[in-house]
């Protein structure tokens, strides 16, 4: 959740907004010391650079987190796939179940034949 909030700040437009908002406190901090304009600009640039570098760190972290999230997603999906494959019975077992059911049906058919008095002649 924190990462996603940073991500909005990291967008290009977010960056410009940030510099705009950060200008006001900067000016306030500079005014009392009475620094020259060039020095003020230098300071501003330095601050902006610092901000940008901080944002780049956030971008890097965000990218790292997103990569991690993607890899976990991939492993989860591959796990589910392998689990499904493990749950599938072997052809041998399937044949066994089928023959068991066939025997069950034959017995059932015979009992129904006896119940209704039906005879089958070949």
């Amino acid at each position: 959740m924190n990462i996603s909030s940073t991500s909005s700040q990291n967008s290009v437009f977010g960056l410009t907004n940030q510099t705009n908002t950060s200008k006001k406190p900067l000016v306030r901090s500079v005014d009392p010391v009475d620094v020259s304009k060039t020095e003020q600009e230098k300071l501003l640039n330095k601050q902006a650079n610092q901000r940008i570098s901080a944002d780049q760190q956030a971008i890097a972290q965000f990218e790292k987190n997103q990569f991690e999230a993607n890899t976990t997603k991939l492993t989860v999906s591959s796990n589910t796939f392998s689990r499904a494959a493990q749950d599938q019975p072997s052809p041998k077992n399937e044949t066994a179940v089928a023959s068991y059911q066939a025997v069950g049906n034959l017995a059932q058919r015979e009992s129904v034949q006896q119940l209704f008095g039906v005879d089958v002649f070949a």
């Binding site: 209704f116 008095g117 039906v118 005879d119 089958v120 002649f121 070949a122």
Partner: protein
């Protein structure tokens, strides 16, 4: 000259027509695709004999099932089990013998009997057929008899009916031997369970009946020429 040769052919036909038809039937039975509908014919008369025996002994027929390989099943309710079981092979022999004999008596009789069998097959489709394959096989058999009815020259109808009779008889001569497979399944095994008389005895009885029927047809054909 041509009159003389046709007279000779006619005389030969009259003398040996039973053997000519018998050899034709044997050859047809060996042909891979042509033999299939005739196997169905024997299978149908076998199953319908079970059904008729069930009805005659107070039971009812629930379903007749025919398969492409010539196998068949008849599901009945009630009736006398012994008679129903015995009637399958014995009935098919009787049908084959009857068709040949009736077709030999008169051309009109042959036509009338053909109509009767056609109607029997149609009623089997309506009342006892329950699956697509059985309907299809019965429709092929009905078409076969319809073809004989539609023949303009009754002489050909008579010969065709005689051929059908012999084909049914030949099948009922050979098919009981399929029961001797050691699996204890089928009519022979059912009769063996009911009577404690071994299965092969029943197979022998059915085989003998078919052989007697064939011999009886030969004797009749010999008497007629």
């Amino acid at each position: 000259m041509s009159n003389l040769s046709s007279e000779r052919t006619s005389r030969l036909w009259k003398k040996y027509h039973f053997f000519i038809l018998l050899i034709t039937a044997v050859v047809i039975k060996q042909l891979p695709l042509v033999a299939i509908p005739f196997n169905w014919l024997e299978s149908y008369f076998h199953e319908i004999s079970h059904g008729i025996a069930a009805i005659l002994t107070g039971g009812s027929v629930l379903r007749i099932q025919l398969f492409a390989n010539g196998a068949g099943l008849c599901t009945t309710q009630g009736g006398i089990g012994f008679a129903i079981s015995f009637a399958g092979y014995a009935g098919a022999t009787l049908w084959g013998w009857g068709i040949y004999r009736l077709a030999s008596t008169h051309q009109r009789t042959a036509q009338g009997f053909s109509v009767l069998i056609f109607l029997l097959i149609v009623s089997s489709i309506i009342f006892w057929g329950r699956d697509v394959l059985t309907w299809f096989i019965l429709a092929v058999l009905a078409a076969l008899f319809l073809l004989t009815i539609k023949l303009r020259k009754l002489h050909y109808l008579q010969r065709l009916m005689q051929l059908f009779g012999l084909l049914i008889l030949l099948n009922s001569l050979s098919s009981p031997s399929y029961l001797l497979d050691g699996r204890n399944l089928g009519d022979g095994a059912a009769l063996a369970n009911m009577t404690f008389i071994p299965e092969f005895i029943w197979v022998l009885i059915w085989f003998s009946l078919a052989l007697i029927a064939l011999y009886s047809l030969y004797k009749t054909a010999k008497k007629n020429h």
